[in-house]
């Protein structure tokens, strides 16, 4: 037995198992906090450099399309400004009708702004690292969104001043969704590389490309109405009971810099 323990690989195995036990009893929390606190400013710099590099390469690759894209986005912006005016009017009307019917007004959730300081992209372990943690009010399970109520994921692990986010594009992610235009319900699951797929859609349901996919609120993890994306392609196989649809994610995971954590404890 002594000879076996003296072998470096076996000794390493025992040390790792020992560390796993210590972690399970929460005894490694302090060293982890210290590590993340020390590493976070370097982490942020490395991530920002990566984002810059990504944008620079994107600029070189798509230089020709810049002018066209610019015109397209200007037009889109003008359209959206018009829609905002209509929505503000609808909101005002909604508030007035709620008051008339004595309905309780929905309390707005508190949003905690956080910066993304890292992204783990290796197989099976994809997630984001953000620079807010327990001392900022974060808890496990809180939903994380990007600007425009675009769903990013949920908090899985919280440290003192940082937290890990489980992305909706992770292959193990499952979210109860609703197609806004038709109220059709389904489950969206992640595929790698920012891909999402809706599964368990009845063959009879009318699904079209361009339709908006939002959270239904039925799973208890995410509130209703958070934007997941838009239907990109409907995959029909008549020999199967259900059909599928590919969804283009609303959140751009290749460029994500800032997120909001929804504090739903109010």
């Amino acid at each position: 037995m002594k000879k076996l323990i003296r072998k470096p690989a076996v000794l390493t195995l025992f040390i790792i198992i020992g560390l796993i036990f210590l972690n399970n009893y929460g005894l490694l929390e302090k060293p982890k906090e210290i590590f993340f606190r020390l590493a976070s400013s370097f982490q942020k710099t490395a991530y920002r450099s990566g984002l810059w590099l990504n944008d620079f390469i994107g600029l070189l690759k798509h230089q020709e399309r810049l002018n066209e894209e610019n015109i397209y986005f200007l037009e889109e912006n003008q359209k959206l400004e018009g829609i905002i005016v209509e929505l503000k009017e609808a909101e005002r009307e909604n508030k007035f009708l709620r008051q008339q019917l004595n309905l309780e007004e929905k309390e707005p959730s508190r949003l905690i702004l956080a910066e993304v300081i890292g992204q783990n992209s290796v197989n099976f372990g994809q997630g984001l690292l953000i620079n807010k943690g327990r001392k900022d009010g974060l808890e496990e399970g809180m939903a994380v969104i990007a600007v425009g109520n675009r769903l990013v994921g949920r908090i899985t692990r919280v440290f003192d001043s940082s937290a890990q986010v489980f992305l909706i594009t992770h292959p193990n992610s499952r979210i109860n969704i609703l197609i806004q235009e038709t109220e059709v319900k389904g489950i969206v699951k992640g595929e790698s590389d920012s891909g999402l797929i809706i599964d368990w859609l009845d063959q009879k349901e009318e699904i079209k490309t361009g339709q908006t996919v939002v959270t239904s609120g039925l799973d208890g993890f995410f509130q209703k109405g958070l934007l997941i994306g838009w239907v990109e392609e409907v995959i029909v196989n008549q020999s199967q009971v259900f059909k599928k649809a590919k969804v283009k994610s609303a959140a751009d995971f290749k460029r994500i810099e800032r997120v909001f954590v929804i504090d739903s404890r109010l």
């Binding site: 992204q119 783990n120 372990g125």
Partner: protein
Amino acid sequence: MKLFFVIFVLLLTAILQAGLAPFLKIFGNSPNLIFILILSLAVLTFYQPADKILITEKQLWISVILAGLSADLFSILPMGFLSLSFLGAIYSVSWFSGNVFGRLNFWTLLILVLIATLFYNLILIGLIRLIIGELTLGRPLFYSVFLEIVYNIILVWLIFYGIKKIFGQNRYTSRH
């Protein structure tokens, strides 16, 4: 090589893994920089000439523990998954260097990296199936592992031959 220097490089690599590696994707795969570094150190440890020891075996195994810990910290997988996978991969390099490949050349390096990457993935997949249950990748597993092997071979080859150029050695035989 001072252990402090190795630890510093490891921690820096862990930071770069989370910071830069996501933007270095090729066909949807990012390089596993920590694994590549530890694999390069393992090959160096088991094949370095006796008169020019750059890294001792003790330093290597300490590095395996620290590399695994730092990879686990940044991953959303349960603690220990990546550490145990690294351990299995490096042990496979140790075993094959001692029992099969006496001399190191391009082909043996290629085979060692292939074997180590396969061991790493097998152990990781096994742990995920055993403890978490469900395992989905969103694309064929074979495709993902194959890309990882190719990435690892190229980067380990670059690192190892870079070290060889710097320290000027031409013959690498197994130290077992």
